[in-house]
């Protein structure tokens, strides 16, 4: 299996998020998740919004900030092995925008209830903070170093 033979990009992971239709698929999948959660009978609407927000942030955290390296061997001799997907990407401004939108919508739908607010804010912060440029490559307490 040859990585990157058809183009000179040695790590295709950096380009995946910029591909056409990625934004639409992302929005659609969040919508799908939300609808699945809505169809659970005994859960109320505010709780569903909070759950959507939390699950979305959790998945995003796992996929972008926990998993390191690439699922294939790249010809760049493992430069990206210790980097999370977020650090490998060249930019991802639209993802932070989506989190802000999601947070605002959730806050609206939970009618600003205090418990929900705390939960949602904490969840949002766990995803926003790792995206700051100051935290590029930082591993707190050595978690997830190797």
């Amino acid at each position: 299996m040859n990585v990157g033979t058809a183009h000179s990009e040695v790590n295709p992971n950096t380009r995946v998020m910029n591909s056409r239709g990625m934004w639409l698929s992302y929005t659609l999948s969040i919508g799908l998740l939300h609808h699945i959660l809505l169809s659970i009978p005994f859960v109320s609407v505010p709780v569903v919004w909070t759950l959507t927000n939390m699950i979305h942030n959790l998945c995003m955290y796992l996929l972008l900030h926990t998993v390191k390296g690439t699922p294939f061997q790249t010809p760049d001799q493992g430069k990206a092995r210790l980097l999370t997907h977020w650090e490998q990407m060249d930019y991802g401004v639209q993802f932070t925008a989506s989190q802000r939108v999601s947070y605002l919508l959730t806050s609206f739908y939970t009618k600003y209830d205090r418990v929900h607010f705390v939960v949602n804010t904490v969840s949002l912060l766990t995803v926003l903070i790792p995206k700051l440029p100051q935290l590029h490559g930082v591993r707190i307490f050595g978690i997830n170093k190797y």
Partner: protein, 557 residues
Amino acid sequence: MTESSGSKLLNGEACQRTLRGKNAGKNGFVKNHCVFEHPRKYRRPTERSQNAAPNSSLYKKPFSESFEETPLLVAVLTYMGYGILTIFGYFRDFLRHWNIEKCHIAHEREQQKDFVPLYQDFENFYTRNLYMRIRDNWNRPICSVPGAKVDLVERVTHNYNWTFEHTGKVVKDVINMGSYNYLGFAENAGACASAAIETTHAYGVGVASTRCEIGNLDIHEELEQLVARFLGVESSMAFGMGFATNSMNIPALTGKGCLILSDELNHASLVLGARLSGSTIRVFKHNNMQSLEKLLRDAIAHGQPRTHRPWKKILIVVEGIYSMEGSIVRLPEVIALKKRYKAYLYLDEAHSIGALGPNGRGVVDYFGLDPKDVDIMMGTFTKSFGAAGGYIGGRKELIDYLRCHSHSALYATSMSPPVAQQIISSMKIIMGEDGSTLGKDRLRQLSENTTYFRRKLREMGFIIYGNDDSPVVPLMLYMPAKIGAFGREMLKRNIGTVVVGFPATPIIESRARFCVSAAHTREMLDTVSLVNLQTPSSDPLHDGRVMGVRRSRRSNL
């Protein structure tokens, strides 16, 4: 590392000329002197086709290429496909971890579990969960000469492609749409083969030395003079391996303090050679002359990154035909840019030599340009000549320099004599010097086959990339499951194709690549294009548009 004489002078001059040549207008504002302005403000959003050449006065015939963008629905479905495969991959890894499923891959022994991992588990994810499932489409062993039809060794797998067994049978007469056999010289009978056999009797097969030591045979000299005559350059040099020609010679030509401007889709050998040389590499968008011009202007105006000294050399590296896209380089515009900004041009004609042009002399012949405009003409003998190896052609000083400084000439064994003889015979046939019209017939046949095949597939509505004259025809598949299905279904119907997907291509641009050959007959091409349309026998819903993705709306191409 080292540089050829005369280059310093040229680039030094160029730097000053740029500064002096621009006349400051009012208030010191310098107007843009770009050769290629952005031609149109508005571009149709659905197609990123590069149909209209901005400077059509440089082109003698219409240059039509198209790279239709992935339809949005298809892109979303492709991401879903990869998403589902990833989820299943994680699930099966989980099963393997808990020993519910048998684990076939290498893993460390119990005693070494606490050491630094030897086998990076995650790096293997794609290979074991996606690639292994459709691995039977690649590395198929063939057991005959790869001409228009080829024989394959039949193999079965009892554990889902982890291991293969040969049944002992041979699948005969598979139509070969995967070999780079553009002029049909992959044959085991005929003038070329007889000449090669005689040469084997005379010289043997191995040379047992490098060119610089005692491996320089008279047949190599004859070959190099013939290649120089074929290309229309002063002198040329031949090497034993095509990949090594690029990766071993670019380091000898450029070094630290030089700039290499390489196309986005350049082959791995060019990328490797550029990285080995130690020069600064800047990448311009594929076949995009505005991008190249912008890079050239920025490079000359700003100089080297920190010191702002002028670059020692600027080398533009492009290919004749790009084998994964089927596009042809915009050579007239590149040469115009090169002359204006005093850069050097390295043209890799691996796929285009012998396959393009009225006389088969490559992309320079195709556009009707002067070969002396291209500083370094590189090519391979693997594709159109049915042999192996590569060459570099150019001015005499350049080739004399390479004879002493090329890594390949000093350390790699020289070309094998029967291979050299095969190239000599096939090149003479193409040039018409053997007294027959075989060369001309084959060139014409290739060009007709290309036009016919492309037109046929286009009419059927498939999305094809590339230039209308290129014998490399990528047919877009997009979805990961289709890659495996297409390869297998084609083989069931006795057609051998090459399919390629992520990560070798961008994630939403998986494709099947057909290589048209002069040895294909019209019936073979008809069979192949009709098979593309065929439905799987058990599915009545899909009326004729299953495998390749078909264009639904656009009919004006």
